[in-house]
Each structure stands twice: as C-alpha cells, then as structure tokens.
C-alpha cells in the first residue's frame, strides 16, 4: 500500500486571525513574510489559467495555511448548480489544498445571467431543500465538508416561515456542513430587520462554527428613514462588531477569524492591526477558558 500522506492537508487553519489576500499586498507579503496565522482567497480570482495571481499565491501558500472562499456558486438558487463553475472550484482546491472551503447562503445566478451580488432567499422548507441538495453536491464533488456563511440582507420575504438560525441549523442537520459565522453580517442584518444582534449571537449553533468573518459596513437609511447598514467590506471593523465578536468568541471558543477588507483596500499594516486586535480578543477568551478549566 502506498503512503498518501500529504503534509499540506495536515496544515490546518490555526484558531487565530487571518486576512483576506488582496493583489495590492502580494509583493509586501512575500517580501516581509508577516507573522499572521493564515490567508483567505476568493476562489473566483484564481480561476484563470496562469499569470501573476497564481504566481504570487503559489509562493504565499508555501508559507501560510489557506482558506478558499467562494462567492459565485449560487447555492441558494432554485436552478441547478453550474457544473463548470463547481469543477473550477475543485481545481482551485486541488491546486492550493486549502484547510477550509466556504460559500454563502445566497443566490447570484438566474437563467444563465450572473447577478454580481449575494442575493437573499426566503427561509422555508422549499428553499431549505434546494440549499441542502446543492451543499450535498458541492461536498460530494469537492470530497470535503464546506462551511456556509450567514448572509447580510436588506429585505425579507413574506414566504419566510422560519428564522435564519432555524434555517441554518436545518441545513447543518441535513448536510453535515459547518458554518462560517460572519459577525459583521449579524450586526448588519439585525440592524436592518430590527432584531437583537446579541440574542442572535447567543442562539447561533456555535458548535458547528469553523470560521468567523469580521468586516466593515457603511450606514444608509431605509424607505422610512430607519437605519439601513450596507455590507460594504470597505472600512475598519466597527466598535459594535468588535463587541459582538467578543461575545461570539465567548460562545465558540478560539476560532479562525478573518479580517475582510475587499474595497478601498488599505495599507497592509492597517489590515495587520485589525488582525492583531482579533488575536488579542481570542487570547483573552483563551485565558478565561483556561481559568474555568
């Protein structure tokens, strides 16, 4: 029997802060080899045949664990998954051997058109069936468990008859997938729909969380002047979200935590500062856990 041990698969994402990898920072990361736990990429940015993206990612992957985050599978669509796109995701995973793979509870493709956003779904049994079947298919093709991310949403559906947490829990039960707990999305959605974010954090199925996301939002107003937060990933993590994060880490324990900053990308050091702040919160919780034990 041949030995099929692969070192890189045994190289997990540590329970510490990571940063979303942006092309603007490729050279600086390779030159300075910063002390950071891991990186996350958007899978779709590495679906070209060659060129600088693959060149730099290959070198960065040699030095750091990696998480692959898909944005285009349209898991919440009622139509079939795009087989070609799923195959492309599988290629990215085979090439870079990520320790985590995640996607969104959202849809973005309809009748062959790609609507470049993460669109919301009604929470009911019918949607749950589609989403669960799609996750089963993704996990079977990739040969691994994936994490599903709770969305930020701006509106609701009359056709919803369960809560987001009931829906996500149902998906986990049906498919065995894990959850990507986006704490900024919790704050955005709770504000946008008038519910209590802390209560959502407390009710979230914490034992299934494999990763946490933190990012920035921008404030806006709804139709009647009510607060409406936009999940823009273009600024620092807010005070409110850091507080919710502390609460989430208290429930989940030390968990790999990503700083997402995709638009108006800042200097590398600013991202690193955000990551250090997440690491300090994880460390506080770790020591509290230690005291309890």
């Amino acid at each position: 029997m041949s030995q099929s041990f692969d070192y890189r698969f045994s190289d997990p994402i540590p329970a510490s802060a990571g940063v979303g990898l942006k092309a603007e920072h490729f050279a600086e990361i390779i030159d300075s080899r910063p002390s950071i736990g891991w990186f996350e990429i958007h899978a779709e940015n590495y679906m070209g045949e060659g060129g600088p993206p693959h060149h730099y990612l290959t070198r960065i992957r040699d030095d750091y664990p990696l998480s692959v985050h898909g944005v285009g599978l349209s898991i919440g669509a009622n139509g079939p998954l795009d087989k070609e796109h799923l195959a492309a995701l599988k290629m990215v995973c085979e090439r870079y051997e990520p320790a985590l793979v995640s996607e969104h509870l959202a849809w973005s493709t309809h009748d062959g058109i790609y609507l470049n956003d993460l669109l919301p779904v009604p929470y009911n049994e019918e949607t749950l069936g589609y989403v669960a079947d799609h996750i089963d298919e993704v996990q079977e093709v990739l040969g691994r468990r994936i994490l599903l991310e709770n969305p930020s949403t701006y509106l609701e559906f009359e056709g919803s008859d369960m809560s987001e947490i009931e829906f996500l829990s149902g998906i986990v039960k049906r498919t065995g997938c894990g959850l990507l707990f986006d704490v900024n999305n919790v704050h955005v959605s709770a504000t946008n729909h008038g519910y209590d974010a802390a209560g959502y954090i407390d009710a979230f199925p914490a034992t299934h969380v494999g990763e946490i996301h933190l990012g920035g939002y921008s404030p806006d107003e709804g139709d009647d002047g009510e607060p409406l937060l936009i999940d823009s990933h273009g600024s620092a993590v807010s005070k409110a979200v850091w507080d919710l994060y502390t609460r989430a880490i208290g429930r989940c324990g030390p968990t790999p935590t990503l700083i997402e900053w995709d638009n108006d990308v800042p200097a590398w050091n600013m991202l690193l500062d955000e990551a250090r702040r997440a690491d300090r919160i994880i460390a506080t919780q770790t020591s509290e856990h230690a005291v309890i034990v």
């Binding site: 070209g48 285009g72 669109l119 701006y154 609701e156 056709g159 009510e226």
Partner: protein
C-alpha cells in the same frame, strides 16, 4: 405562496431593470415592497460591475471621462450582463458594444483601444509558458530557417487597427496629461504578450501582424514570410524574427 422559482425570476428581472416595481412578496419590518431596500441590490450589482469594467478599460475611461464611462458601462451591463461568476472574463464584448454605441461615434478609435485593453487582460490571465531565447534561433543553420515552425506564447494577442492604438495606450497609461495625438496619423497593429509576470504591448512593424497570423495557423517561417510580403512590401523578415523572440512571443521552435 410564491415558489422559489417564481420569487427568483421576478427578483432577477426587477433587479436589472429599475423601471420595474419591487416584486410581490418582498417586505421589511417597516413596510411591504420597500423600494430603497430593493435598490441596494440594484446598486450593488450595477456599481460593482461598472467598477470591474472601469478597472479593465482604464484608458477608454480616461479618453471618454469617468462620468461618461460609467454611464456607458451601465448601458453595457444592462445590455450584456455577465454570464459567468468568474469576472476576469467579463467585458470580452465591450469593444464591439462601443463600436455600435452611438454616443461615442465621434471617437471612432475607442472600440479598438478597448480591444487592446481586453487583450491586455486576456494576456494577464493566460496560461504560463517559458519563452525561447534568441540563442535557440541562432543555433539554427541559416539555410534551414525557412522550414522552422514556431509555437506562439499562450498569452500572445494581436490587435490590428486603423488608429494609432499603441501610441494612444502608451500616452494615456501614465500619470501625466498626454501630449495631443493625431488620431488620423495612421493605423497601428499591436502585439500583446506576457512572457513572465508583466504584460508587454508593442507596435508591430509592417507586415508583422500578417506574419504572426500565418505562424498561428501553422505555417513555416518561409511560408509566413511570403504571406507577410504579400501584405506589406516593407516586410523585414530578420527584424520581425528578432523582434518576436526578444518580445518573448515564442514558446517553442521546431523543424517542420
């Protein structure tokens, strides 16, 4: 209750078309059919795709001005939204769209400038290959050169134009305000190739495009030179061969 299929069909149609009402079944804790909330999705989709196009066609944007570019890109997104979530492939038909877009009719070169910027993007993401060095060509005995066949680099693209597109691209790629360019000064053919990490754009000499096109179709160097001379009296075989190799445009050399 609406099925998921009905919900998404109505959502998709309305999210791309601001003239349609908010679809039935959409609500919020404040009111039913919340238009501002629905508009967040409309805006996210259009703004993000217009940003993609502005990043991909920066010289076209500079030539027409940012505000005009964004309006043009919006018309393109509405007319030809992406068909793949891999957005590095979006914009392949933007040049053809500009050719037929009446508001830019007085800037007849922008379509070809967009073709050149698209070729740059395609070369950037193309498969990697090592380019052959000039030494490999020097090793071939002179009397056998005509029988050689070249494999072109996978990132190579040729863009032919009746307008001076390489000059326009070069003049509008820097920080400074460019010197005025005489758009009617004559056409230029561009060679776009990425031999390593950087995409190179060069102006091809007379007959160069015909020569490379013929090589791409599998002709020997001798056959391709005949085609190039037919296309242009001024074709210089030695200069074209050396230029091609020095550009990193050749991935392999073999005897036919």
């Amino acid at each position: 209750m609406l099925s998921l299929s009905e919900t998404q069909t109505a959502f998709a149609a309305a999210v791309l078309d601001a003239d349609r009402p908010v679809p039935a079944g959409i609500t919020s804790y404040m009111r039913a059919l919340p238009e501002k909330r629905f508009n967040v999705y409309r805006n996210n989709i259009y703004a993000s795709l217009i940003d993609v196009l502005e990043g991909r066609f920066p010289v076209v944007a500079r030539l027409v001005g940012e505000e005009f570019f964004r309006a043009t890109a919006k018309a393109y997104v509405s007319n030809q939204p992406p068909v793949s979530p891999v957005l590095m492939r979006y914009g392949a038909t933007f040049a053809a769209f500009l050719d037929g877009f009446e508001p830019v009719a007085d800037l007849p070169y922008v379509g070809d400038v967009a073709r050149l910027e698209w070729a740059w993007n395609a070369a950037y993401h193309a498969a990697d290959a090592e380019a052959v060095s000039i030494d490999e060509l020097s090793d071939v005995p002179a009397d056998q050169a005509d029988a050689l066949q070249f494999t072109l680099h996978p990132s190579l693209h040729i863009v032919c134009s009746l307008w001076p597109i390489v000059t326009i691209l070069a003049a509008n790629s820097g920080e400074e305000e460019p010197e005025p360019i005489d758009a009617s000064a004559g056409g230029e053919d561009a060679l776009v190739v990425r031999p390593a990490l950087s995409v190179e754009v060069r102006r091809l000499p007379d007959g160069g495009a015909a020569f490379i096109g013929s090589i791409a179709r599998g002709a020997t160097i001798g056959e391709a030179a005949d085609v190039a001379i037919e296309a242009s009296d001024g074709f210089d075989l030695q200069a074209n061969l050396t230029g091609l190799i020095q550009s990193g445009a050749i991935a392999a050399i073999r005897m036919s």
